[in-house]
């Protein structure tokens, strides 16, 4: 389970999966699903522990927005390295397990993206799952900046896909120039 204690929930309704595609897969993780209003803002603690990960994730996202597969590959290699350097031992025991699972999964996705230069579709597919991992990571580990969770309902044959951005402006990493503006802000992560 995610450590819920660090989040001030405000009035947080449902996460992207459960509300958008009738999938229940993430509901167990977000136990607050019965809250009624959907003002989607989550406060996370201020921390620099994930700064390198966030920096490199955003660079990877930018490369995908630009339809630049090769750059996405090299940026995700950097992201992979940032995961390897993430200081887990500085975290509490209760956070370590979840964080190490997130990092293990996210590292695999980063590795895939780095190995699939020339295959933007496949890179984007892994980027979508990776984005969920990064979201969960900052909920636990905190962030050094405000981040927006964006959502494009069209991605993946209508199953939808989310990503994180440091800007409120929609620049879609799943479609790039084909559909740059598809998406909207789903949630805002503000710093305590």
């Amino acid at each position: 389970m995610l450590s819920l204690a660090i989040i001030s929930w405000g009035a947080f309704a449902q996460n992207d999966y459960s509300s958008m595609n009738h999938s229940e897969k993430d509901q167990g993780k977000m136990d607050m699903k019965d809250n009624s209003s959907a003002s989607a803002s989550i406060t996370v603690k201020h921390s620099k522990s994930a700064s390198a990960v966030i920096d490199r994730y955003l660079k990877l996202k930018k490369a995908l927005v630009e339809d630049n597969s090769q750059k996405a590959a090299s940026e995700s290699k950097n992201l992979f390295d940032a995961f390897a350097k993430f200081n887990l031992s500085a975290k509490s025991n209760s956070e370590q397990k979840e964080l190490s699972e997130i990092i293990e999964d996210a590292s695999e996705h980063a590795e895939h993206i780095s190995e699939n230069s020339g295959n933007l579709d496949h890179q984007r597919e892994h980027f979508e799952t990776l984005s969920n991992d990064i979201r969960d990571l900052i909920v636990i580990a905190g962030s050094d900046r405000t981040l927006y969770q964006m959502y494009c309902p069209m991605y993946n044959n209508g199953d939808g896909g989310m990503w994180l951005s440091s800007s409120i402006e929609v620049k879609n990493p799943f479609y790039g120039s084909k559909m740059m503006k598809c998406g909207s802000v789903q949630q805002e992560f503000t710093i305590k």
Binding site: E24, K25, D26, G28, D105, E108, D133
Partner: protein
């Protein structure tokens, strides 16, 4: 079979088990049946490398040891790879005819994996 086997982690229906065993298990599990020509070099080395990579990517024998997060990730990738016809690999099924995945089986497998993915809770 181990308790961490994919087919033991979930209550996989008999017909889907058969499909998994035919089309996935030979490379993505610890139960590889090495064919006679795997003893002929360099084919054997190529095959060994192929299976090594396949297992690192997805080992259905160890599925139960994966974190729930990783299981979800893998289910998602399995569905996508099978849907797109990337798996089973044509370079493999070209020789291993028995591993081919006919459209009917493909649909059954995908439907089942989607059900799993949608009901996979984090607990």
């Amino acid at each position: 079979m181990l308790s961490t086997e994919f087919v033991n982690v979930y209550e996989v229906p008999e017909n889907v088990q058969q499909i998994l065993l035919n089309s996935c298990y030979n490379c993505h599990s610890n139960n590889t049946n090495y064919p006679w020509y795997s003893y002929v070099q360099p084919i054997g080395l190529l095959l060994e490398n192929h299976i090594y990579k396949a297992k690192a990517e997805l080992n259905l024998s160890e599925f139960g040891d994966y974190s729930v997060r990783k299981q979800r990730s893998k289910l998602k990738s399995m569905i996508s790879q099978i849907e797109k016809g990337e798996m089973p690999m044509t370079s493999y099924t070209f020789i291993h005819r028995e591993a081919r995945l006919p459209p009917e089986d493909k649909n059954k497998l995908i439907d089942y994996l989607k059900t799993l993915k949608n009901t996979s809770h984090e607990n």
